[in-house]
Symmetry: C2
Subunit: 210 residues, 2 copies
């Protein structure tokens, strides 16, 4: 490779490109949250049914903490698509979202525990059982029903990766993490990456295949 050759895209990004286009179409069609979560969940299930499209740069674990790599943000910030990469033993703090979300496991497993505020003192208590999500499984985050959870890598010896979609530019949303007491701390997640995959590169190949 000489200095002027563009860096080759190692993976075929057309599944992600199709997902972005279809998700934008869904949001053009409806503002109904039930329909967004149902039909959007179907689109995400299609996307995570194969795990060969995510470029290595956006699948790389950090030795100390889970990573959030932005893959696409809608022009009007109606939605964002993010890869979450979990090293062994890594977990989020207990946190909320304040917008709708969809989670699809790409590889490995994710363990999710929901919380809610107890009625008498506002402390956080576990809500329902801990769920383990496997590759291809989808979970919705519906702020109408409860928005606080903690997520961890379900694998003790390997990386797990999930693809998330949120109803905003999630890296900029002013939200909160929580202590067990229920005490909130302001939280803006940002993103780990300063470059995004160009989903629209190599289109002549994609169009020939389509």
């Amino acid at each position: 490779m000489n200095a002027f050759a563009p860096i080759a895209t190692a993976t075929d990004l057309s599944p992600l490109r199709r997902f972005v286009t279809d998700f934008a179409g869904l949001l053009d069609d409806t503002d109904d949250l039930d329909r967004i979560l149902r039909d959007g969940g179907g689109l995400l299930a299609d996307l995570v049914a194969q795990d060969d499209w995510l470029p290595e740069e956006y699948a790389r674990p950090h030795p100390e903490r889970y990573q959030q790599y932005l893959l696409h943000c809608d022009s009007a910030e109606r939605f964002s698509v993010v890869s979450f990469v979990w090293g062994p033993g890594q977990a989020t703090p207990i946190h909320d979202h304040r917008v709708w979300g969809l989670v699809g496991v790409l590889s490995g497993t994710e363990r999710v525990q929901s919380f809610h505020h107890s009625d008498h003192d506002g402390a956080l208590v576990q809500y329902g059982a801990t769920r383990t999500l496997h590759p291809g499984e989808i979970e919705a985050i519906d702020p109408r029903e409860g928005d606080i959870h903690r997520v961890e890598n379900g694998q003790s010896d390997r990386t797990s990766i999930s693809i998330h979609v949120y109803g905003a530019n999630i890296g900029a949303v002013e939200r909160a993490t929580y202590r067990a007491s229920g005490e909130e701390r302001p939280f803006i997640s940002g993103y780990a990456n300063t470059t995004l995959p160009n989903l629209w590169a190599n289109l002549w190949d994609i169009s020939r295949k389509a």
Copy 2:
């Protein structure tokens, strides 16, 4: 910098991010081409009024040919934003677009010559004078009025850069280049880059400044 530090974004991308958001808002408001070109031209004029935001990776000339770097593509491919980078002496072939476009000069100068098909034999003839566009100047491409032109660097000894917006994912549009005889050749431009700038990174800084 260690292996795990994210690559620092050398420039403040908030002008481009604001442009993308505002352009999406304009297209949500109207399908009227006159208004898109007028108001979109105003947005582009604001964007190119300063030349300090374009990261170096998307401002780099190629020794042999002009470069088209995708900066953003709308989720639904309603518009794309591209930097054109011209080394000394570089020029496009005569070509068309088949969608609306807006061109704003960021640095250096661009020389533009329009063409149309002559009535008697279909050969291409120059249409109007050659125009030189200077930094901050905007030109519209309106397929209703004539869509064929040739663009070249107006500087013989330095790089020129312009920012273009098109009413489609321009890298994938099936269009044409032309010989002087008027003969068409199929043309799909693609893009030179496989990564895009993350306009949504470092949002905590941007939001503090806004």
